[in-house]
Symmetry: C2
Subunit: 318 residues, 2 copies
């Protein structure tokens, strides 16, 4: 985002103008980041790498990236900043390949939905934690995948969590933070392990439940009829079950411990509620529902505050 | 809905024009029904009954009903059709009170989310199943309650399930069906027990899971932070946890058996998935997620077909 003008002089922080940004994995997240950073004028050139030529050609045609290659060395060697936007499971292989291609100054960041596993993997590949690696996670997305679903406003007013370590260089951290801020995101920092616990609760558990619910219903003999009589609430509730199975398979494994812990907490509560229903214990059932409604209503109010008129974040529907 | 005009003659089916419709419980559903039927010109007069005077005054001010009383006899005795739109738990008491107020010709219908329990309760109150009682359930709603949340398009293109018995009079059934069709709803019929099983899967289980999830998160020590980092998917997933706790408490008890059965099926599948995550068994995890995504994507396509340009149904947001 240009810093605006004062006294007719354009004040752009040129010290963080990036010559070449390389996006590895130009899908919904990588593509939206490219669109947003380009719109903000933060990079002179954005190049992409991936395995699917047709998809990368689409990314160029849609204006997300300027050029691409199917050879990692052709795009990574000159890059000042590299954004890893592949599924978590592909991260270690990519890092191994990158290790010998990049200079000491190259800043690398990622968008993985779990962070401790990424840090572990990077430290393993590099022998120790490189100072120019900044782990990050934008809390934004839709249930759609691919660069055709990307749009520049995806991160506007959304949170991005960076999880630097005590090895992380201040300059690398500031650069990555600045790039995210240029997309309109609200950037915060926390410890990787804490990030993983919070996200297990707010994102990973809901996805696990939505996938499990829809899979359960799909197994019932009345499958056709069931989906026929599903109403608006069901539509919203199950939307995230359309998310990318491969991405979520990786998240479940890479954030295994935190996810298993919240699944267990959920199961214990469901067990209690089931018992209350069995016993027709109205008071206990109502207590759960009221506590949930109160928390959800508070959250709704908070969202309403966040969704100021200048918010340009958009969500997909159906 | 007026039948349209042909050759300059207005063809309204006067045989099913209702003199007085009485709505018992003028909230989101009762109020929306009143709005819609009034707009369709199907009733000469709509009266309301409830316990909350302020809310009934609001219903009159908003144009949903023409008049109200806090005395059941003042509104029920003259009614040709009575719509019961109270929580399920209040149904038996209302039926008991109505029994001595109504004539043999009065048609009664309801909007309860579970149907076998309503039929049982009506048969118990009347000694046997009255021929003019037509059980019904509109598959529509929002997470908001109260007449201020009511709107005439709530049922447009939504399904309404009627569950007549072999005692139900054809005329009563046709009248209730006609009224619902005038709201723009798609009316179907099925057996009450089957209705309860289908709805346990598509509506009751998702609500139980959403309430349980939000309650589980609200119990965590990081409660504040967790809701802060929740993204769009979470917003959609938990929307139904803002639903009316009292209404859902009644549903859980009144459709207990069917609900316990689907909770069990869900728990079994969650258990299996948990084990797969524990074992880092990618293939099994992916299989669940892919099967869910496929079913959800099919459902999404079906919805897209249903949401024709003439659809005027609306969903609330946030």
């Amino acid at each position: 985002m240009p810093r605006g003008t004062q006294f007719g002089i354009s004040i752009v922080d040129l010290s963080i103008m990036i010559n070449t940004l390389c996006i590895i994995g130009v899908g919904l997240i990588g593509g939206s980041f490219a669109h947003a950073v380009k719109r903000a004028g933060q990079c002179k050139r954005i190049v992409g790498y991936g395995r699917n030529k047709a998809s990368l050609e689409k990314a160029v045609a849609l204006g997300a990236i300027d050029a691409f290659s199917l050879q990692l060395d052709e795009v990574a060697s000159d890059a000042d900043v590299i954004l890893l936007a592949t599924p978590l499971g592909a991260m270690a292989d990519i890092m191994t390949a990158l290790k010998d291609l990049i200079s000491e100054d190259t800043i690398i960041t990622d968008v993985g939905s779990a962070k401790a596993c990424v840090l572990d993997s990077v430290a393993r590949v590099f022998g120790s934690m490189p100072q120019n690696f900044v782990a990050g996670h934008p809390i934004a997305g839709t249930e759609n995948s691919g660069v055709e679903a990307a749009f520049p406003e995806l991160f506007a007013n959304r949170r991005v969590i960076l999880t630097p370590t005590d090895k992380t260089s201040k300059k690398a951290l500031a650069t990555v933070r600045h790039l995210w801020e240029s997309t309109g995101a609200m950037v915060t920092q926390m410890d990787a392990k804490h990030h993983d616990e919070v996200l297990a609760a707010t994102s990973h558990l809901p996805h696990v439940l939505a996938f499990t619910l829809v899979d359960t219903l799909a197994q019932l003999s009345e499958r056709q009829e069931i989906f026929e009589y599903a109403a608006g609430g069901f539509r919203d509730f199950t939307r995230i079950a359309s998310s990318d199975p491969l991405m979520w398979q990786d998240i479940c494994i890479d954030n295994k411990n935190a996810i298993l812990k919240v699944i267990q907490a959920f199961e214990d509560n469901l067990q209690k509620l089931k018992q209350a229903i069995k016993n027709e214990d109205s008071a206990s059932i109502r207590q759960v529902f009221q506590s949930a409604k109160q928390a959800r209503d508070e959250y709704r109010l908070k969202l309403a505050e966040q969704d100021r008129p200048d918010s340009i974040g958009k969500n997909t529907s159906s």
